[in-house]
Amino acid sequence: MSREREVVVLGAGMHPWGKWGRNFVEYGIKAAQDALADAGLEWQDIQYVSGADTIRNGYPGFVAGATFAQALGWTGARISSAYAACASGSQAIANARAQILAGLVDVALVVGADAAPKGFFAPVGGDRPDDPDWVRFHVLGATNPTYFGLYARRRIDLYGATVEDFAKVKVKNAKNGLHNPNARYKKAFTLEDVAASPVVADPLRLMDICATSDGAAAVVLCSKEFAAKRTTNPVRISAVSTVTPTFPSAVIEMPDIATDSSAAVKPNELSFRASLAHAAYEEAGLGPEDLSLAEVYDLSTALELDWIEDLAICGRGEAEKLLRDGETEITGRIPVNASGGLGSFGEAVPAQAIAQVCELTWQLRGQAGARQVEGARVGITANQGLFGHGSSIIVTR
C-alpha cells in the first residue's frame, strides 16, 4: 500500500480493567483524558469523536460518541457511534480513520468503555425465534464458551493438542499481565491452577475462558501532516480490516446454529478469521514475516492458538509447537499477547479492540516497561465479534 493511506496514533490511554461498579462513562472519560494528555492536545482540539457502543448500559451506551462528547463538554465536534459486537472498537477506529483519510478532519478521538454484567452474556429479552442469538440459547443452551469448546476440541482431535497446551497459554498470558498496570488480573497462574478449575465447556476450564470486565480505552488519531508538527517518529495505523466472511462460510460461528451450505458454491480457502488478517496484510503491504508481535482475541486459551494460524504465523496445527518452544513468549520470535491478552483483562467489549491498539502503540514506542518486546516495529491485532463482525489492525513505526 502507499503510505498516503496511513493515519498516526498520536495518543493512547486506558482506564484499568476490573469490576469497579461505576458508570461506563467515567471509565471512558479517564481513558480519553489520558489519550489527550499523551497526544499533547486539549479536548477542544478534537474535531471528531468516534464512540464504540456498549449495549449493556442503556441508551447512553447506544450513542456512545455523543455520551462521551457531552461528558467532556459539548464543543460542536462531529461525532459517530458504532456497534459491531466485539469489533465495535475497531469499527470506531475505522470511522475516525476514514474521516481523516478523506481530509474531512485532521484529528479525532476514539473511545470505547464498558461496565459489564457478571457471568455468561445472554441475549436481550423476549420470545424471538427469528434471532439466531435467541435460538442458540433457547433451543441449544449454547453459550459463547460452547463455541470456544467446539474449536478447542478440534485442536485436540485433529492436531494432538492437549489441555496442558491450553493451560500453557493461560500461564504465559498471566505472566505478561503481571507487568501491565491496566490488566485486571495481576496474578501468576500455574498449570495446576488451570487444571483445578471447573470445566465450563469441555475441554475448556474456567481459567481457559476470559471473564467480562469493566474498562475503557481511547486513542487520538490524526493525519500525518497534523502529526508532523508534533512528533518525528510517529506510530502509524497501516491497515484496518473489517471484512465480512465470504459465502459460504464453512465454520460454525457464534451465534449461528448452522453454517452456510456449500452444496452449490465451494467455500473460500481462507476461513473468516484468516480472511480478516489476509485483508489487513494486503492493505499494509506486509506479511506475517514482518511482524514483531501480535495481540489476538483470546476469548479462550485455545482460541489464541487458532488465531496464530489465522494470522499465517504458522501452518494449521503448528501453533502448539510455537507455544511449547516459547516462541510466543515476550522473549520469543513472535510474542503473542504481550499485554496479557483477554486472559489477564477480561473482555470489556467496546474497549477491547482499542486497547489492542493502545498496547501496540506503547510497544512500538518502547514504552511497555517490563513487558517490552525488544525492537518492536510492526504489530497486528486480531478480533472477532458476532454476526460476521471482526477486525485486524496493523500498526507500524
Binding site: 433451543v139 476440541r153 469441555d202 448452522a258 453454517t259 452456510d260 458454491v265
Partner: protein
Amino acid sequence: MKDHKPVVPGWFTQDDEDFRLLGTRCTACGTVFFPRQDTFCKNPACAGREFEEVRLSGRGTVWSYTNAGYRPPAPYVSDPDAEWVPFTIVAVQLAEEGMIVLGQAEPGVTVDDLTVGAEVEIVPGVLYETDEQVYTTWKFKPAGGAA
C-alpha cells in the same frame, strides 16, 4: 398425556419414524438452508426467490463437540432447583448439504462417547416440559450402536 409441541415450528418432522430436520433449498442455485429460508437466497451470486422444503440427511459426522458444565442463562429453560447435569453439544457435518448443524446429544451421551469424524444420527428428543406441554427438538446420538 401432555401435548407435544416442537420448540420451533417447521424445523423438523413430526414423525418419529425416519425423523429429519427440515430445511429449504433455493430452486435457482441449489443452496440448502437450515434454519429454513423462504424469502431470499444468501448466495451473493443468486437472485433466487423460490424455495422448496427439503429433509436434511439423517446421518452425519462429528465436526466437534463440547458440553455445558454450567447452567446456561435464560432463555434456556431448566429447573433452577434441580442439580445441574451437563449436557453434550455436537456440531455435525452433513455431507450432502455441505453444512454443519449444532444440536444437543441424547441424554446419557457424554463427550467421552464422541470423536471428531465419528458417525452420528439425528433422533427426536425432548428439550423441556411444562405442566401442560412437552417441547420437542432434535438430538444427536452415535450411530451404529456405539456408546
